[in-house]
Symmetry: C2
Subunit: 548 residues, 2 copies
């Protein structure tokens, strides 16, 4: 009999669906109890979903959550699980005269014997990147420990372990056997290793077993990847839960502090594997949590729409994905045949809606030329997709990639229409790599590669005028993506970028394009963050801005 | 000879235009010096504009600002103004291990004899409403005072005076004669009185003359209203600068602490007068700072587009405003004649672009019915406006009001198209009141009332099907606006709103409409905040959200 049988329950809550989220937690608790778990830990705000944003300012929401947590404790007891310690994250009502704009704390409660027996409030609030927690929460100001038999556990919540601060001293003094960390940590390239490193360091510092429990699932532009894990007091990674799926990871902590895996441990896949699954989960959850019956997207024969369609099929199945080919007089034969090839490969119905009849009427009526005429084509496509969406209830996917968004190489109210942008944070280079990875993945499994090779190989083009290709007005994508990384991610100035070996005029041109497109990005659809610098709430720039 | 001749310089900076902003400041300094001013105070971040948002994370921006402030000090000296003390707000580079995500402070420098002789960093950072300062800045941690002859002045920046905290103790101890407060305080209904009250309280607490200097001008969705003012140490309001215009307010502070106005003092207008001027200034500055030659908008004959057109003419003149009538088969005669009447009253060119030819082509091609067909009409209007915008460089104004935005009573990519939404924060009831105020204002001045009375009087309708009016699907606007205020501003829950005497089913319906429209609002144009709860960055709600 181990001292502690520990369960790390990574659930996929929906923001605001308090009762449904807690019903899932109850099922997980029953399962854990049946496997002998005596300490079960859920993720950050698992009761309400995360992030709750300005719902944190609504007293009724906080009061309903409080009641629901008490009810959950009673339900656990009624189900015969009263002797198991259950730790769950939820917002709680609070007041502090130094933070008068917030009325909540980001808390975790310990439930036992049908009661709330202890509670901790997150002390370190992230207020950078996509996080606005100092807006929505009041920081806690003390550490919290509780006893399980003759063992002691301490609680921490997410940002607490990323910042230095008072809690380490408290933990060194209290000497808990277990440090339980509740997280709502969104997926990001390279993030998984960082989490393990920081937890490992914490385990050594506090000489305790660290249980890191993450949420899983898509919530608007964030996708939580799960991959909860445990580290022993020497800092060794012992076991990891599934990435991108709900899971219950069970471990034994012995009297001597040894940690042994009871359930199955998993390993994360390659970078492209992870990104693909992050995008799939994000799209699936946006569709399902918002109850869309299906998605629709324009299939141009190009790489972006092909990758989006393949993602959609992986997310919700081919019978719920509708492809539309929207040819114009400038569409090449291969754009039509590649779209058809794609549709056949992924088993998606394709219908063809030419834009030329409408185009002629408006162009003649308004005498449009040049860019105005090019944008008109994209906007007629947008109108057709939105019309079919309104008629049939489909969610429209917008297929643009991050590089296009960055430089404004898209038509607002045209190819930008839609409720969700799967490739919003995927630059053009990564789009190609993902396509190749996905095809290779299919080949390895003896299946048909979903993306037509021709869509991968051909020169990208918007086909808005005869013979047009992207590189008529943009540099090669590898150069463009490098300059954009230096500007957007490294936040360098023009001189610093030029010092890295790029043409001054080109650098200035790219920076101007980025800044001029800010108003369009502000009106863009949401899409999953997968990098350390996504567009959307992670990069907040003025539209009116003379600084480059 | 007074002890201090104090100048409050409210300038209209453009975010990021450091050199141009400081050139304006230099002109103001010359003017102030010529009038004998020996202490001149500018607003918060007057050097760079405010808010700078994530520009605060760019080292090159902070370094250029630092250099520019030194240059400005040297320019003042070179112009013979070296003996005048000049206080100016600007961001400064900083580092703090407790706030590792930010690299700037919101600072103010005192310039004298060509040098930076002192510097203060804002201690209280607003991180609520539209403000993200804890994201972008590191809080300062000490008070700052400086000597002018035998007098002493203390510096504070904006939020410092709205929060309780250490600085009051420091001020009570240091006993400055003058408290100089640099502000970037956006216009909001009722805000002016609050500012005076809080400054008055501060004056009494610190027994000092308080100079409150605000910025003026539009910056994206914020409009700074100026109205800088001074309060004597007994808390009496002595003088106020112009509202909604650049101004230099000059006062003498005598040896005994009496405060006397040297320049002209102004008074704020009525509520509607203030809102109208806030909207005009906001629109004008968005157009001018982003260098648009002109604006274009659809004129439906309804009240919203009429008010937008009148605002645009007041902002940039009738020759730069282009009205388009976009009739369909469902357009009433009065919608066409009221649009023509409006155009004539305000001297705007009106062109007519029927949408029916295009509508027939697409509706037949896609077999659209019901709402899909209604939305199609709005989207063809959007395409036409955007086509003319792309062809001629016009900024498209989107004319929807706050009530429509709240309940999603607009077509995304249809009537929502545009770069700027003048009525974004103006609810339908206020739209009517503004129209009446503006007409009355014209009458009082012997001019033609701009808004056709028929546009004010008739029942609002989108005219997307025969005989349609807004109240087919919405409650009366006075009831709707009240429920929305309780939900959005008071943040009440359904039960609490029902307890105020509204139908439970109606309350639930309205709340559902608001939540379902979140994805559309997220893709909407920016527009000026004028209330305490605007849409946009002030209300951050998840799209995927099951809580009502």
């Amino acid at each position: 009999m181990p001292a502690i049988r520990l369960g790390l329950a990574q659930t996929n809550p929906t923001v605001g669906a308090i009762a449904a989220n807690l019903a899932t937690c109850l099922e997980q608790a029953k399962l854990a109890h049946s496997k002998g778990v005596n300490l079960l830990v859920f993720g950050e705000l698992a009761a309400t979903g995360y992030p709750i944003e300005d719902l944190a300012h609504r007293e009724s929401f906080l009061m309903e959550t409080e009641t629901a947590i008490s009810t959950f404790a009673a339900q656990l007891y009624a189900a015969g699980l009263g002797e198991m310690h259950v730790v769950i994250g939820h917002p709680k009502f609070a007041y502090d005269r130094n933070t008068p704009w917030a009325i909540a704390q980001n808390a975790a409660s310990v439930l036992h014997s049908g009661e709330i027996v202890g509670r901790y409030s997150k002390r370190h609030l992230p207020n950078y990147s996509v996080f606005d927690e100092y807006r929505n929460f009041i920081p806690g100001n003390e550490s919290f420990f509780f006893e399980i038999g003759d063992k002691k556990a301490g609680l921490l919540i997410c940002e607490d372990i990323w910042q230095t601060g008072g809690h380490i001293v408290d933990f060194e003094e209290a000497k808990p056997n277990l440090t339980l960390v509740l997280n709502g940590s969104p997926f990001e390239l390279e993030k998984l290793d960082q989490r393990v490193q920081i937890a490992s360091k914490l385990a050594i510092q506090t000489n305790s077993t660290v249980a890191y429990v993450n949420l899983v699932g898509g919530q608007d532009d964030l996708v939580f990847d799960g991959a909860s894990f445990a580290v022993d007091s020497q800092g060794n990674l012992i076991a990891m839960a599934k990435q991108f799926e709900e899971d219950l990871l069970i471990l034994d902590v012995t009297e001597t502090g040894d940690v042994k895996t009871v359930s199955t441990s998993h390993q994360a896949g390659s970078t492209f594997d992870q990104v693909w699954h992050a995008l799939v989960l994000s799209l699936r959850d946006y569709v399902e949590k918002n109850a869309f019956p299906s998605v629709i997207l324009g299939l141009s024969g190009g790489i972006d729409s092909a990758v989006c369609a393949a993602l959609a099929v992986d997310a919700i199945g081919s019978d719920r994905v509708f492809g539309i080919s929207l040819p114009s007089q400038y569409s090449s034969d291969h754009s039509k045949s590649d779209a058809a090839d794609l549709a056949e490969r992924i088993g998606v119905k394709l219908s063809v809606q030419p834009i030329e009849p409408t185009f002629q009427v408006i162009e003649d009526q308004l005498n449009l030329t040049g860019v105005a005429s090019e944008n008109l084509q994209a906007r007629i496509r947008g109108i057709i997709l939105m019309g079919l969406s309104n008629q049939n209830g489909h969610l429209v996917l917008t297929t643009g990639n991050k590089t296009e968004l960055a430089v404004g190489y898209s038509t607002i109210y045209g190819d930008s229409v839609g409720g969700f942008a799967p490739l919003k944070d995927v630059d053009k280079i990564l789009v190609w790599k993902l396509a190749e990875w996905r095809n290779e993945h299919a080949r390895k499994n003896g299946l048909v590669p979903p993306i037509p090779q021709n869509s991968i190989d051909k020169a990208p083009s918007a086909e808005l005028r005869p013979g047009q290709i992207d590189q008529d007005t943009l540099p090669e994508y590898d150069i463009l993506c490098k300059i954009l990384d230096l500007y957007l991610v490294e936040r360098l100035g023009a001189e610093q970028i030029v010092a890295k070996g790029f043409e001054p005029a080109l650098v200035k041109h790219i920076m101007n394009l980025v800044n001029s497109a800010e108003w369009k990005r502000r009106q863009g659809a949401i899409g999953p963050k997968i990098t350390e610098m996504s567009f959307g709430r992670e990069r907040r720039m003025p539209i009116t801005n003379k600084y480059r």
